[in-house]
Amino acid sequence: MTTLLEFKNVSKQYGHDTKALSDVSFAVKEGEFVSIIGPSGAGKSTLLRCINRMIDASSGEIIFDGANVMDFRKKELKKLRTRIGMIFQHYNLVNRLSVIENVLHGRLGYKSTLAGVLGLYTEEEKQQAYSILRILGLEDHIYKRCDQLSGGQKQRVGIARALVQNPKMLLCDEPIASLDPNASRIIMEHLKNISSSMGITVIINLHQVDVALKYSDRIIGVNKGRVVYDGTPDGVKTNELQSIYGTDFGKTVDEQGGQHAG
């Protein structure tokens, strides 16, 4: 399979001496399901946002589909973002609008300014949005306001909004951090399903190591802005976890296991 995304020595600096990412390099193949794990504040979220330039990296190269996104001007950047869907921890929906409206927001990047301002969507787009909502099991809620949904349902709306973009890749920033275990499982299965049946590459930031190991093709461990592990889930053992999370790791795993059981 071909390489879809490649980081070459990417660094991100805030102010003078805060380094969020230093010298990050890795590559992701098309259709891969990659989890990024690491402690809070390790730079996972910054790393993800550098890909669609929600945050601009300070140096290095980020190659997506053969082009360096760091060179992109406004128009190319817009086009890049339409091809990359993003899913957030807090869903980032317009709560007062209906499910279908929020999903169709994913089409705005393809529209002229006027059509976008007026919210004019074609019948085809609406049908596509509906099909996706059906796949995600939300077909009975399409006219509901998003503030009437549960957390898991809101996240599925978030996924639908990303899928309606027809993306090549999904970036998921802690998608299950605010959800209960059952809703988390449903979201992860949907993401896995999307990745395997539609061939969409998924990069996902996760807090829960066990979840990451269970679903991913590959794990990237990040600590203090550096990639400290890059390989298969099978290769992640106590040693590796200690280098990702620090030497106290044993404790953390127990707590997390406990959280999951509860």
Binding site: A129, S131, R134, I135, N166, I194
Partner: protein
């Protein structure tokens, strides 16, 4: 969609056990009806209609709009760029601002003392429902009468001056603070009151040992915000109801001496104090939010 979107959907549909390619049989509306949006639209339309009707019905008395607007700009320019002292000195103006601050201070103090007691009675968790509703109704009435009218009504009995101004302005302060205080009290955890009740504390003990200490930061911040408002009110009352202070000087400069430049000086004084108070109030609010 060169990489087979439709096939992918079908594949997933098949996996989920659905009939392939099934679509929604009714046209999909992107703006489904809901009551809140409907009310928002009606309200906006009403406001716009009333605005247009207003503009068409006003008696403009042949004012030359552009000329007057231009003159206003010239006035504002003269006012701000060429301010001067004519009928009083720098020290005099400063003294008058302090008088205005004093009026605002007394009003806030009286308002706070009265509102503290009435606020306790208006808080639903500390008082009976009837008393609470009665006080809230009274507040609605007090707020219905504009401050300037309260001041002028009191001026008949007490004569124009600081007494009428302070008492008249106190009404709205009380109304505002009762609402703010009682809401702060209502936020207090029910369990705390219950625990103290269970330990045999009486109403006053609960109020002074639990309710006030736990909401004191809110009380202070609301009181200070009201002080900021009262400063502006005191300026206006000086101008409109002869309450003294810098507002009265502004009124004299405008209505008797027709001295735009002096209004400029006065405006600078008021602005400096008002902005200083606003910055203080904003800081206080931020601190409170951080403490939450």
């Amino acid at each position: 969609m060169g990489w087979g979107w439709d096939e992918s959907i079908r594949a997933v549909n098949d996996k989920a056990g659905n009939k392939a390619g099934q679509i929604h049989n009714k046209p999909i509306r992107t703006k489904p009806f809901n009551k809140a949006s409907f009310v928002i639209q009606i309200t906006l339309l009403t406001l716009v209609a009333l605005t247009l009707y207003g503009f068409s019905s006003f008696d403009y008395k042949d004012v030359h709009f552009f000329e007057a607007a231009y003159n206003s700009l010239v006035t504002v320019k003269t006012m701000f760029l060429e301010p001067h002292f004519q009928h009083f000195t720098f020290a005099g103006a400063l003294k008058q601002v302090i008088v205005t601050l004093g009026l605002a201070f007394l009003t806030t103090l009286f308002g706070a003392v009265i509102a503290l007691f009435l606020g306790l009675l208006a808080a639903r968790n500390l008082s009976s429902n009837t008393v609470s509703v009665m006080i809230k109704g009274m507040v609605a009435f007090i707020r219905g009468v504009p401050t300037v009218l309260w001041v002028l009504i009191f001026a008949v009995a007490a004569g124009l001056g600081s007494v009428a101004a302070v008492i008249g302005m106190t009404f709205h302060s009380v109304g505002y603070l009762i609402k703010a205080y009682s809401e702060s009290f209502e936020e207090l955890d029910k369990d705390v009151v219950e625990a103290l009740k269970a330990s045999g504390a009486n109403w006053w003990q609960i109020v002074f040992q639990a309710v006030i200490p736990s909401s004191i930061t809110y009380l202070i911040s609301w009181t200070f915000m009201r002080f900021e408002i009262n400063f502006a009110v005191a300026v206006a009352m000086g101008a409109a109801a002869g309450a003294g202070g810098i507002g009265f000087d502004m009124f004299m400069a405008s209505a008797f001496y027709y001295d735009v430049r002096e209004i400029g000086v006065i405006t600078y004084f008021i602005l400096a104090f008002a902005i200083a108070l606003e910055i203080l109030a904003t800081r206080m609010k931020r601190k409170l939010r951080a403490a939450e």
